[in-house]
């Protein structure tokens, strides 16, 4: 999906707390609908900066978690000055949005089912991806891992998700990788889609490599521009550095030797 050239002003229409996260709704009537896995660069129109250390200065990248009726939804976790500022926006406040950007997910071929593996706030692109797949009549089972109960509440954004938690407070006590292995042991005819912390992505990548299964990983990386201008967001791949913003964020796992420690969501 091609993006309009230039950031546009969008207005917050809703802001919901979902456990430890926030779901921000923004009216974007002119915005082209994104492909699942694409992202937008966001910044508030007012007071972007001025917190401790005067940051944020640059816009921040967020996956589309949903897009319907000219309204975009973003799932975010307050981890620093940028997400903190977006977190406090209320209805009527304005953001600048540049997007949709990057390469999204592509659907499973040859009747395979989709396994959606998410960790933490990295579940965001899986929400819209599950919507899309189910609409297309493709099976799309979500396996989600969280640190704790407050974060795990976001599992409600997906349908019939199986949950693992680090502290055992919800679902499986352990890693989401355990859930994935269990699933694959039963039926390996699947494509894996994953988004989450770097360590999780690397575990998923290694598991799929071992089982010779196709996997698409939605990576993250510190970004300055989001449209290929700065060459700042690179991750190493088998064919050299890739720009996550234009060559990704969704990258075929086969292109990576391993997932770079800087290439995942905050855990």
């Amino acid at each position: 999906m091609v993006a309009p050239f230039g950031r546009r002003t969008v207005q917050i229409t809703r802001s919901d707390t979902v456990g430890a996260y926030r779901v921000l709704h923004a009216a974007d009537p002119e915005g082209p609908a994104p492909v699942a896995g694409q992202f937008a660069m966001l910044q508030s129109v007012e007071r972007w900066g001025g917190g401790e250390d005067e940051r944020p200065y640059l816009p921040r990248a967020f996956s589309y978690a949903r897009f319907a009726g000219g309204e975009a939804q973003f799932l975010l976790e307050d981890v620093g000055p940028g997400t903190n500022r977006l977190d406090e926006l209320t209805v009527g406040d304005e953001m600048w949005l540049l997007g949709p950007l990057g390469v999204g997910f592509s659907a499973p071929a040859d009747g395979r089912r989709a396994l959606l593996v998410g960790g933490g706030v990295g579940i965001a692109p899986l929400v819209i991806w599950q919507d899309t797949l189910l609409e297309q009549g493709t099976q799309a089972l979500a396996l989600l891992g969280f640190r704790d109960r407050a974060r795990a509440q976001a599992a409600e954004l997906l349908r019939d998700a199986r949950v693992a938690s680090d502290d055992g407070s919800v679902g499986h006590h352990g890693l989401v990788l355990d859930l994935l292995q269990r699933e694959l042991d039963q039926d390996a005819h699947a494509v894996v889609y994953a988004c989450g912390p770097a360590a999780m992505l690397e575990a998923v990548r290694a598991e799929c490599e071992r089982r010779k299964l196709p996997a698409q990983l939605a990576l993250e990386s510190g970004m300055a521009c989001g449209f290929g201008a700065c060459f700042g967001c690179v991750v190493p791949s088998r064919d050299g550095y890739l720009r996550v913003c234009v060559d990704g964020p969704v990258i075929d796992a086969a292109r990576l030797e391993r997932v770079d420690q800087h290439a995942g969501a905050s855990p």
């Binding site: 091609v2 200065y57 640059l58 510190g222």
Partner: protein
């Protein structure tokens, strides 16, 4: 209001800073709207080197207070693939193309200049002399005498305008500008990024792990604007050739400040990351 620069007639005064806008990637992202609303009155390429370069390992970016530190490391396809793959695409932009080149020896630079001289699509050549000299570790452009010698070698190789992008990490930037002028440079551009560092925020206590994959980086954006204004003002006082001013320009006011101290053109770098059409906004506001 058209502007004359090195014999060119430009529609307005705002161009991009080298390495801060990839027109080819942007066309993939924004489609043909990029051409229709191309924000720069001339397009400056990323720095091109003879051999391809991978650039520095990540992380390459660090957000500072009102600024950005980058340690990109000049990744590029190398001269040959730039000329064969990129140049034909860049020619479609419909604005003059300035090709920015860097070499760590006079020989390398000579080959780069000679090659660019052959291509009619290239309007001007910008020399990035903010490259460390292998022997001294200093930027090759930091010593006026060395710079003059280098330029004297390169000048005869092309009749295209030669723009020297000065290094700001020098004791005497105006002297470097004068050296470039006296050896036949047609213009100078400044400022490049200021040497800067950051530490890993998640490092162990009392450890000093550098954050940037390249060890250190360069500071750009709002934070360096007052330094840019001072260096541009000092340079325009000492040379007659046109000056391209840049460093932290975010609004037409900032651009006007550079013009008022004598810059002919103004380049926008980091601000394009915050607002990809910033240069168009600035050019429009400048005309008001």
């Amino acid at each position: 209001m058209s502007v004359s620069f090195c014999g060119l007639d430009l529609r307005h005064r705002v161009i991009n800073g080298s390495g801060t806008f990839d027109a080819i990637a942007a066309q993939r992202v924004f489609g043909d709207e990029l051409y229709e609303r191309f924000p720069f009155t001339a397009f400056v390429s990323k720095t091109i080197t003879l051999a391809p370069r991978e650039g520095n390992p990540p992380p390459r970016l660090w957000e500072a207070q009102a600024g950005l530190i980058n340690s990109i490391g000049l990744p590029n396809k190398g001269l040959d693939r730039y000329l064969s793959e990129d140049l034909p695409q860049l020619a479609k932009l419909g604005v003059p193309l300035f090709t920015n080149v860097m070499g760590s020896t006079a020989q390398e630079l000579s080959r780069l200049v000679e090659a660019c001289a052959q291509f009619t699509q290239i309007t001007a050549i910008e020399l990035n002399v903010s490259c460390p000299n292998v022997k001294t570790g200093l930027d090759i452009g930091a010593d006026p005498a060395q710079l003059q010698k280098l330029l004297s070698t390169l000048r005869p190789l092309t009749s295209k305008p030669l723009i020297v992008k000065l290094t700001p990490n020098a004791s005497d930037v105006p002297a470097c500008a004068q050296a470039a002028e006296s050896a036949g440079a047609d213009a100078v551009s400044l400022i490049n990024t200021l040497r800067a560092s950051a530490l890993d925020p998640r490092r162990a206590p009392r450890a000093s792990a550098r954050w940037l994959g390249g060890g250190s980086g360069g500071l750009s954006g709002a934070a360096i604007r007052p330094v840019a204004l001072a260096q541009v003002a000092a340079v325009t006082e000492r040379v007659e050739i046109p000056v391209i001013g840049m460093g932290g320009v975010q609004t037409s006011r900032h651009a006007q400040d550079l013009i008022d101290v004598g810059a002919t053109l103004v380049a926008v770098g980091t601000e394009s990351f915050r607002d990809p059409t910033a240069a168009a906004r600035i050019a429009l506001d400048l005309d008001k």
